[in-house]
Amino acid sequence: MLATIPVLAIVAVLVFLMLRLTPGDPAAILAGDAANTEQIAKIREGLGLDRPLIVQFGIWARDIVSGDLGESFYFKMKVTALIGQRLEATLSLATLTILFAVSTAVPLGVLAAWRFGGWFDRMLMGFSVMGFSIPVFVLAYILIWVVSLKLGWLPVQGYKPISEGFWPFLRHLILPSITLAVIYVALIARVTRASVLEALGEDYIRTARAKGLPESRVLIRHALANAAIPIVTVIGIGIGLLIGGVVVTESVYAIPGLGRLTVDAVLARDFPTIQGVILFFSVVYVVVNLLVDLSYVFFDPRIRY
């Protein structure tokens, strides 16, 4: 756990410096098109951007330590409140995506390994190449056109919080989740197939089969259980990649989540929000990886920390 502190500190310094080195002036953006240079200078002063970099960093670092991510230049709100406002949508989308991806990809990967070289295996490999190749926004437009516009089954955009009912919540997330999940289905299915395939060649599988165990039990209880560690690792990495994926998906489906917030903040050079969101994502990534590491103990009791 303590190792996460230097990781986050390095992220904080890098984000802070990179933003200041990137061209673009938040004050000029806030002032609007008709503002003059004098007005922009006054806004810059009001935001504290006229102070030396080291002073700006010192103030920000001090606030972070006390749990305050600062106030957004652009939205005029506390960054923690902004993240809180957007968290539900992104969390819902990410959870549904992972659930959908895992529940689809793992069985597909196991089946492909079981029927190695057969038509199902080849079809799955073909699908996974397509899943990797097709850009998220292209898939999104195709799904919207077919499912929403032609068939009229699901809405084309928007998000409903779960407090407005489970079905409205779910129907707004089905298409975005599928869109985002395709690449993870491809990734997890391939890794599952490879891991299970390797396990199926082991002696203990032959022994299990020789004992007369049903094939389903051999596959799930023996092969899959022993192939779990690479699969769980890939799922953990996938959650990290998901953070990038939500940015595009939220834009196309008009979901007001953290991805959309990041885009808005970057376009507005809203330094406190960008810094806050990236730090938050870093924490999530570190925690997920920690959980993945801890889960190894569950899947393989020989592992000790």
Binding site: A35, K76, M77, V156, G158, P256
Partner: protein, 531 residues
């Protein structure tokens, strides 16, 4: 049977819980909710603090104005009932109409008005110019205020009723007393809608409820004047839906009612859709403009700027950027064509020119081969093709060009820099202005030729132009103002303050069941009915 009934009752209860507590009620009241997709995101809620159009449009929803400007560019009273000026036009007396009330239930008084004018006068360009004429203001009665001028001013009413950023919105005194360089914390107006602060989520939605206590004027809605009648209970701005294709999909499916800025690429398909309409809400449109940096060579030389004027025929810019013939027009005026000061007077250097003449002018100007740094915004679809056309025409004329791609916000930050182009500055950027922001010589920022004092990026300097502009500010006779506007334009073409690149209309798209559209800036949401 009994068991089946119980099962059916449970099923219905389960269905209701799935649909959600608000879903049925929302479906019933959907025809009283106007769902709008604005042209951009709303983040800044103080329309005096910034000149951003989204903040201005938010202001129109919740605040009222003393005067407005109708579709023929005539100033008409709004909160003001009657007004008069004394014989020497130095004392103006205004009386507010009865029944004006802020959303917190308090009456609008002349003290609120004076405080609002004072704050606006510190931020708005036209307001600041007006304040140089104002000696003092007072409030002899709660419904009456007076403006004492040092000398007659030719644009007092135009300034008080200006329709675009910064609009003089009237706020309660306690809000208007906020430092003009700090944002207001409250959002209480006396306009036709009440802002639902608790439902506001920047990047998601902004919600406005009908102000049931608002007393509209009797005149029909026109521009920012006339009766602001509200026929819906609630207006929702969808701030999350910003992908052009997704916007059209949502409109076609009936998930939203109005798109404020239909992408040109979708114009033909929306036009053919029988469930949709493209109402003519803002025929005055917008003007494209190329702006020089007058501080650095070669554009510190008027002859070089004239060569560019000669090279920049408007047609190629309009064709490349808009593409749809019925949406653009060539307009050799620095003011908007079709408005009182719009005319081709003095525009020959651009309107009657050609590339051969431009090439001759470049040679005669003494241009030394300095590469022209043009800033090209790659992420702003509405103007991103203009710099490519500019670069090509400049090359044809004999200039060297350094076309630098960047996002719009980088451009916005960089254009404020006065450094030399080779040290991170620039030579030229291209942009678009709404008609209302450029249709007179005071509002048009590019015509402020006070050099570095003028403030607007490019910092053009010409004493004669400054003098003509000052005369315009003092002139009270309309015919003489028109002549002065012509003279200002002719001088601006002569010295090459900037290059007008033609005008276009930004189409608005709506479902067919929305009626009551009127001519304005295209972003006003009263008078609309949802059938």
């Amino acid at each position: 049977m009994k068991a089946r009934r119980i099962a059916a009752a449970f099923s219905l209860a389960a269905l209701a819980s799935l649909l959600g507590p608000n879903a049925i009620a929302q479906a019933q009241s959907a025809d009283r909710v106007l769902r709008v997709v604005p042209h951009s995101n709303l983040a800044i809620l103080d329309p005096i603090w910034t000149t951003a159009y989204m903040s201005r449009n938010h202001g129109y929803m919740i605040y009222d104005t003393l005067f407005g400007t109708d579709e023929k560019a005539q100033v008409k009273p709004q909160m003001v009932e009657e007004w008069s000026a004394n014989a020497d036009k130095r004392l103006w007396t205004f009386k507010l109409r009865k029944g004006l009330e802020f959303h917190d239930g308090k009456p609008v008084t002349s003290e609120d008005v004076v405080a609002s004018i004072a704050r606006w006068g510190k931020r708005d360009a036209m307001g600041s110019a007006l304040m140089t004429f104002v000696d003092r203001m007072d409030t002899p009665a709660p419904d009456t205020f007076r403006i004492f001028l040092r000398e007659p001013c030719g644009f007092l009413l135009e300034a008080l009723g200006k329709p675009s950023s910064n609009v003089l919105f009237i706020m309660p005194k306690r809000m208007a007393d906020t430092d003009a360089f700090k944002q207001i914390e409250e959002h209480i107006g006396s306009g036709p809608y009440v802002f639902k602060r608790d439902e506001f989520k920047p990047g998601d939605k902004s919600v406005y409820l009908k102000n049931t206590k608002y007393v509209p004027r009797k005149e029909p809605a026109s521009g920012s004047t006339g009766g602001k009648n509200v026929y819906v209970d609630r207006v929702e701005w969808n701030l999350a839906l910003r992908d052009a294709q997704a916007q059209v999909n949502a409109l076609q499916k009936g998930e939203v009612d109005i798109l404020e800025a239909l992408a040109f690429d979708h114009y033909e398909s929306v036009k053919k859709d029988t469930t949709l309409q493209i109402p003519a809400t803002a025929p005055a449109g917008l003007q494209y403009m190329a702006r020089f940096n007058h501080l650095h060579k070669p554009f510190d030389n008027a002859k070089v700027r004239q060569a560019v004027l000669a090279a920049f025929s408007q047609q190629p810019f309009l064709q490349a950027q808009v593409g749809v013939k019925e949406l653009y027009r060539v307009c050799p005026s620095m003011f908007t064509c079709g408005t009182p000061y719009g005319s081709p007077f003095g525009s020959e250097i651009q309107s009657k020119s050609n590339m051969k003449k431009a090439q001759e002018l470049v040679k005669a100007s003494g241009y030394d081969g300095t590469p022209i740094v043009i800033m090209k915004p790659t992420d702003l679809a509405s103007i991103q093709k203009l710099p490519d056309v500019a670069a090509q025409l400049l090359r044809q004329a004999g200039f060297k060009v350094d076309l630098q791609a960047m996002d719009w916000q980088t451009l916005v930050g960089r254009r404020a820099k006065k450094d030399a182009p080779e040290k991170g500055g620039w030579h030229m950027f291209l942009t678009a202005w709404q008609a209302h922001d450029i249709w007179n010589p005071i509002a048009n920022a590019a015509l402020d030729a006070r050099g570095e004092q003028s403030g607007w990026f490019g910092w053009g300097k010409d004493d004669k132009l400054v003098e003509l502009r000052n005369q315009f500010m003092r002139e009270v006779d309309d015919a003489k103002k028109k002549k002065l506007a012509d003279a200002i334009q002719a001088r601006a073409f002569e010295v090459g303050t900037h290059v007008p690149l033609g005008e276009y209309v930004q189409p608005v798209a709506a479902r067919k069941n929305i009626s009551g559209f009127f001519v304005s800036n295209g972003n006003l949401y009263w008078n609309l009915k949802k059938n």
